[in-house]
Symmetry: C3
Subunit: 409 residues, 3 copies
């Protein structure tokens, strides 16, 4: 028993480390796909998110998300108090059905918490005021994310209804994705994104190698994101989850690559990469329920959705520099609904439950992010001046350049 | 027993993740050592290899490589059917002598499968048609790699003969290396590689920091590549393997650094880096059989071979932008033969068996890659136009630049 | 028991891999914060350190550091012989109280050994002669580091006194930090660092994204650095250590970010990053003794010390390109003393013991590094010529450029 408990805890600690590493992946992906002049700004936001996210989650987020709802009582909001302190049996095999220790539990969940805000960071890049963004993060990571999380993972009312979201297609990815959508609608497009004829223009990023490394690191991190969501090292489940995760990623990449090549007659690397991410987000809700075959289908369809989603965002005159809405919102919804279509829980009842969950959480996220961002817009403004946007946020907000010595030594 | 099975499976899953991460290392190494104008092309190839490699291995590669040969029957080729489905006891300690689950087995092997093609990718960089390369990958990863693998790891005839290749000096690295050799012979050198006097000219890459990061990530990945090849978390064997792997890497780097400094009066970082890789490839066949002292000797000699091998390739008027043949083929052969010279199995009988294995697999790889690449050359051509080569494959094949915003914002 | 031993050993092997990966983080951080023209030189030094460090530790360092002192006998120096060979019971649960195998022990400690030299590498960057640096590394990693380490971790006299240093705030970080301080005093500042008025001028690095990636990789590596220092996978201790480590990192970043923003009216990313490292170094001595609340306080104060320390180094007319003295020496001392102020061992007796340890080790490191570096200065000179410094060490010492193809293809 001690050996098993220790092995479980080792696995969960490794998964925690891998999810932490995802922040490196997000940072690389976001700066790679955006312009050099805003690189410091994006890195600063991401470092703020991972440090601030952990501190907020430690101060109150964890106790909002896991407040100890009584199962079946339909909990909506409850708070277990400030700070963290391990319960008496938090370090013994009895805790969490023998899974792992309370400290591991906190840290694994804490690494998840910051992810939702990171998703928003990419979408609003190159034009949001950093002060406004930091305040948004505090409210969204500190309050919205844990409250939504409590409804399912904290054993609240959506859990009672039978809503299923294994590792967070909805609870993490679409929570970030909805706020990204609201934010880019409120912010407007970057200068130069839409021509005078209204047609979208590509604004190329500054380092595709960094973006590629970012996606590979995110895929690696997903070994922990999904693999750790088993909440033990159960050999059959964890290894199945890694297989479905990797097959969906591969199929997602292929789906997007093939469709974009057919449509645009071009071997488009960024579509290939976003297809991989779409496949990963898509499998996340049901990674433990699917066969490898089903994972391939879910991932492949997610890849197709990426190509369509990116085109749709353009059509709607929205400006999402990294494709965050297509990847995290559209594929997040798809993955959540796929639990009702494929795999061990497929069925019309489950499909409806999944749909309810998507709608309720979507409504809550849209409303709360609209309130937070709307209030910030009214009070301090969301967007930097046109001059600052054109000259770059790095010089104006941070007084430094990302590659200061690169050309002039 | 459950604790041990779980710990074994955790180790194998981590090793799987580390081998997956090696693809980031290969990508960084290859783009770092090649020119900026071909960066997107190389990344696209590598992303294609890891996604396509997994899908092929899932579709039929795994069942070609582990077809269930009867030991002692001298199996050469057999196919266990399309797709993957776990056997009844694939999740229990009884499977694979209590090692780990069937799903873990598939995924770990799947991550290996793509590696062979990645080795080729580096050698043919900057001049191969991407369409031809993708078709080559499908045949080589889908068919050649698993068939060769089945002869030893799938318990085929080379296993019966007593051929030993712990983690793939031959089965992975030289399989890739032979194809790389055939491919660069068929392709010819890049424009400008050999002057009018026939002397080789260095064509420097575009980012040595990325190449360095690539090598360090590959070394990290080798913890999983060799450590996972124990096929359990057996404490003594896994930890010995990590020690021999790291000592060989360090000694290989030193060997190449010292020899190249003596020969060329220059502290050459890329030789140092390739020496590390040579040491890693060299120890791979016998990492579980060697003492740390023997690992240092094998690695050091591999480092010397790198310096000689790179010079030899130049002398033969072959053009291998990343040194793939020296690293993966020459050191792969060396490591395989070293099993007959050093360590627990040393002896003239074993040496001859190792030599037979090298020759047979070499012949098979040369013939099959010559057929595949020769057919592609005849049908569609292997090489891009001179104009495209000079202007860069990124613009011509992908319509994008790797650093589009770097200088002109 | 076998399951537990295996799980422990798996954890220690993973931590070994993570500490190895820290060298990638150090390399990225150092080149990111320095100029392009010295990038190859820094990478060469770092690759030399990790390969040479392992070889030295294998040749004699390990047996100097763990010579088998009899506890209570006040050991100062002892040598268990050249090379490594596992003791009879080195692979059994009885070894090291059932923790892990002897091979794992060697490799984990070997990865630590190189770290001290890497710290120095950053401080002396852009002006030290590479030959002198390599000789310094051989003596400092080969002799000074293991002798100091033996006093506590090898069960020597400081261990008898009750000195506490969980994972090396003093034994690793300040050992590196003292040598860095001595080295930059002997070397003098880089050309252009101090104006004619004596005021320090910022010499910006060449890639802040690389520096950021370096810090995130170092944070990830610290999961292994501190998590592995438990020397088992004990669930309660390892998971507590990861929580205190991450909370101190987050709080350190915040402390430095807030103070630097107040003082300099600028959202300074590099201060934020160095604050994270300061928090990590600060918690390292007592990561297993602190509550999460105490970890936040220790980390936050470390973050403040970073801002003050960087200013102090400037004031002293010293030139430390990467802030190594502030991060590793000042926060290393702070973390060591904090063991006497906070947590399970707090008390004036413990505080004094910690102080004695800091002073004795500091004196030994200052004297030995002064002797080594002073001798090198007298014999061969420490510093490159002014011409070489201005033109860059890459061209002069290595005959190559880090980004040769970046602008002219």
């Amino acid at each position: 028993m001690e050996g098993l408990f220790t092995a479980n805890n080792v696995w969960m600690m490794i998964c925690t480390a891998l999810v932490f590493f995802m922040h490196t992946g997000f940072a690389f992906l976001e700066i790679g796909l955006t312009r050099q002049k805003n690189t410091i700004n994006i890195l600063f936001k991401n470092i703020f998110i991972i440090t601030g996210g952990l501190l907020l989650y430690y101060a109150f987020g964890f106790n909002l998300m896991y407040p100890g709802f009584e199962e079946g009582a339909g909990g909506i909001i409850k708070f277990a108090g400030f700070g963290i302190a391990a319960p008496e049996n938090g370090m013994t095999p009895e805790y969490a059905s023998g899974g792992y220790t309370w400290w591991t539990d906190f840290l694994f969940q804490g690494m998840f918490a910051a992810t939702a805000a990171t998703i928003v960071s990419g979408a609003v890049a190159e034009r949001i005021k950093i002060g406004a963004f930091m305040i948004f993060v505090i409210f969204y990571v500190g309050l919205v994310y844990p409250i939504v999380g409590s409804w399912k993972w904290g054993l609240g009312f959506l859990n009672d209804w039978g809503f299923y979201d294994f590792a967070g297609s909805t609870l993490v990815h679409s929570v970030g994705g909805w706020a990204a959508l609201v934010a880019i609608a409120l912010l407007g497009a970057r200068v130069g994104k839409f021509g005078e004829d209204g047609k979208p223009k590509a604004i190329p990023g500054h380092s595709i190698p960094m973006a590629t490394a970012g996606v590979l690191i995110l895929w690696l991190g997903w070994f922990g994101f999904n693999g750790g969501s088993v909440l033990s090292a159960d050999p059959e489940l964890t290894s199945l989850v890694l297989v479905t995760t990797c097959m969906a990623a591969a199929a997602g990449g292929f789906g997007a690559m093939i469709l974009s090549t057919i449509l645009y007659k071009n071997l488009d690397l960024t579509m290939f990469l976003n297809g991989i991410l779409g496949g990963l987000v898509g499998i996340t809700a049901g990674a433990d329920l699917m066969s490898p075959n089903e994972a391939v289908i879910i991932g492949f369809l997610a890849g197709l959705l990426i190509v369509g989603g990116v085109a749709l965002i353009d059509k709607l005159k929205l400006d999402d520099p990294v494709g965050a809405v297509a990847v995290h919102l559209i594929c997040g919804i798809w993955g959540t609904l796929a639990v009702g279509i494929f795999g061990a829980k497929a069925g019309s009842g489950q499909f409806l439950t999944q749909l309810y969950g998507v709608v309720i959480i979507g409504a809550f996220c849209v409303i709360t992010s609209f309130i937070i961002l709307g209030a910030l817009k009214a009070i301090m403004g969301l967007r930097v001046s046109k001059e600052e946007e054109i000259e770059g946020l790095d010089i104006h907000e941070h007084g430094m350049d990302a590659y200061p010595d690169f050309t002039n030594d």
